[in-house]
């Protein structure tokens, strides 16, 4: 083992290389690794957060869907009820209307019958008088005639 100045040279070279590594290699590399570690952990956090949010959204979706289904069913039910009611209403209204029209038509008929009867009665009276006048060809007391005619008319 022959020690000589090589020892000092090696020591200086070692110091130089360590200094170089300390200045230009270690810190930037460490920073990159730490940045990546942080990014990965952030990413994992974000992923688990996203998963949780997705789960929440799923349950919320199920809730909303359930409520909507219920509401829709209710609406349909109501609509059906209402439709039935409307049909019933329309039916009864139509029935009423029909009854009314029928009634008024009957009334009309009765009225016109009465009218016709009245007309006929008066005409028959006139005809009877005329006939009687012609038959009798006599002068008859107008007053006695009138009462007679009225009597006949009343009997008609």
């Amino acid at each position: 083992m022959n020690f000589n100045y090589t020892l000092i040279g090696q020591l200086l070279a070692f110091i130089l290389f360590v200094w170089f590594c300390m200045k230009y290699v270690w810190p930037p590399m460490l920073q990159i690794l730490e940045e990546r570690e942080k990014e990965i952990s952030d990413g994992l956090d974000a992923a688990s957060k996203g998963k949780r949010e997705l789960e929440e959204a799923e349950t919320k979706k199920a809730e909303v869907m359930g409520a909507a289904k219920k509401e829709a069913a209710e609406l349909i039910n109501q609509a059906n009820l209402r439709a039935n009611q409307m049909v019933e209403d329309a039916k009864s209204k139509a029935q009423e209307e029909a009854d009314r029209i029928k009634e008024s038509a009957e009334k009309d008929v009765v009225q016109s019958m009465n009218k016709a009867r009245e007309g006929l009665r008066s005409e028959v009276a006139v005809l009877a008088v005329a006939g009687a006048e012609k038959l009798l060809k006599a002068e008859i007391d107008q007053e006695a005639n009138a009462s007679l005619i009225d009597e006949i008319a009343g009997e008609l």
Partner: protein
């Protein structure tokens, strides 16, 4: 490689010698005799001057050029590689290369976070990453054949022939200076943090007042102080020893290739050498990676101990 006139001992010693640049006996700094054979050094080598330029005479005043060149080249390569990945790194759209680097980065970060208790220390991470990557890169040089670089540098001739680069050890960690230099830096940090976190008194007390209390102070010092420094020394020696031993086996295996083209039996030894080299290399990959990892982990553990205020 092993010529007829070059015996095995010479070959092994040749491969245990670093390419050395140092202070020669005339006080000038020059490559050691015969290490580099071109230019002025070549002439000096050929002319046989009146001074000697022997590695053993240089003592501390020398530099192992091969160790320095290979380790600094690898350190720059690793640093530049990491920097180029980091520069283009993105959070959301990482490239394949970035993914691979992040895996390694996270491995180091995990090891540091598991072992190192104090937070907000911005030196331990880079220190660990640099330690493991640089040591791994240097250790991997062990897998290159021991004669490869001299062979290429000499224009594809064996290095013991007369070539420009006679000596070149490709493996920096098989030179004690490389791991010791790193361990020295870590030892400085251990002292710094110990004194910073425990106070000078606390640091000294830890070495003198345990485990038996103040009345057994000499005993405590004998137990604790060598233990404290042996840890730091062992950090270097463990790496050096493991890789040096591995390199030694490769050198011994390389001896078998010596007369590959010379005779039938030489060729057969060569084939055996190839198989052995492959087997040892496969096994040695484990040691290469393991020692780099151990060096990093122990660095982190020792620095963590320097932060522990209670024992």
């Amino acid at each position: 490689m092993a010529n007829k006139e070059l015996n095995s001992t010479d070959y092994i010693q040749h491969h245990l010698q670093n390419l050395t640049f140092g202070e020669c006996s005339d006080g000038e700094w020059r490559f050691a005799d015969g290490h580099i054979n071109f230019g002025k050094d070549h002439e000096a080598h050929v002319e046989q001057k009146d001074y000697t330029c022997d590695v053993n005479e240089m003592g501390f005043n020398a530099v192992h050029v091969d160790t320095m060149a290979v380790s600094i080249f690898l350190g720059c390569l690793v640093s530049f590689f990491f920097w180029s990945i980091t520069r283009k790194a993105s959070v959301k759209n990482p490239s394949k290369l970035q993914n691979a680097f992040e895996y390694a980065f996270d491995f180091v970060r995990g090891a540091v976070n598991d072992t190192f208790v104090p937070k907000n220390n911005n030196i331990i991470g880079p220190l660990a990453l640099t330690s493991i990557s640089w040591v791994l890169a240097m250790n991997l040089m062990d897998l290159l054949p021991v004669d490869l670089i001299p062979w290429i540098a000499n224009g594809f001739q064996a290095s013991n022939m007369y070539g420009p680069v006679h000596y070149f050890k490709i493996l920096p960690v098989a030179d004690i200076n490389a791991p010791a230099g790193m361990a020295l830096g870590i030892a400085v940090l251990i002292h710094y943090y110990s004194i910073k976190n425990k106070g000078l008194g606390g640091f000294v007390a830890e070495l003198t007042l345990q485990p038996l209390g103040k009345w057994a102070l000499p005993f405590n010092m004998i137990v604790e102080i060598p233990g404290f420094y042996a840890k730091q020394g062992a950090l270097a020696l463990r790496l050096y020893g493991n890789l040096f031993a591995g390199e030694m086996i490769f050198i011994l295996i390389a001896l078998l290739f010596g007369s590959f083209f010379e005779s039938v039996s030489g060729a057969m030894w060569g084939v055996l050498g190839i198989l052995l080299h492959m087997g040892w290399a496969i096994f040695h990959i484990l040691i290469i990676a393991l020692q780099a990892y151990v060096f990093m982990i122990l660095t982190v553990v020792f620095l963590n101990q320097a932060h522990e205020t209670h024992h």
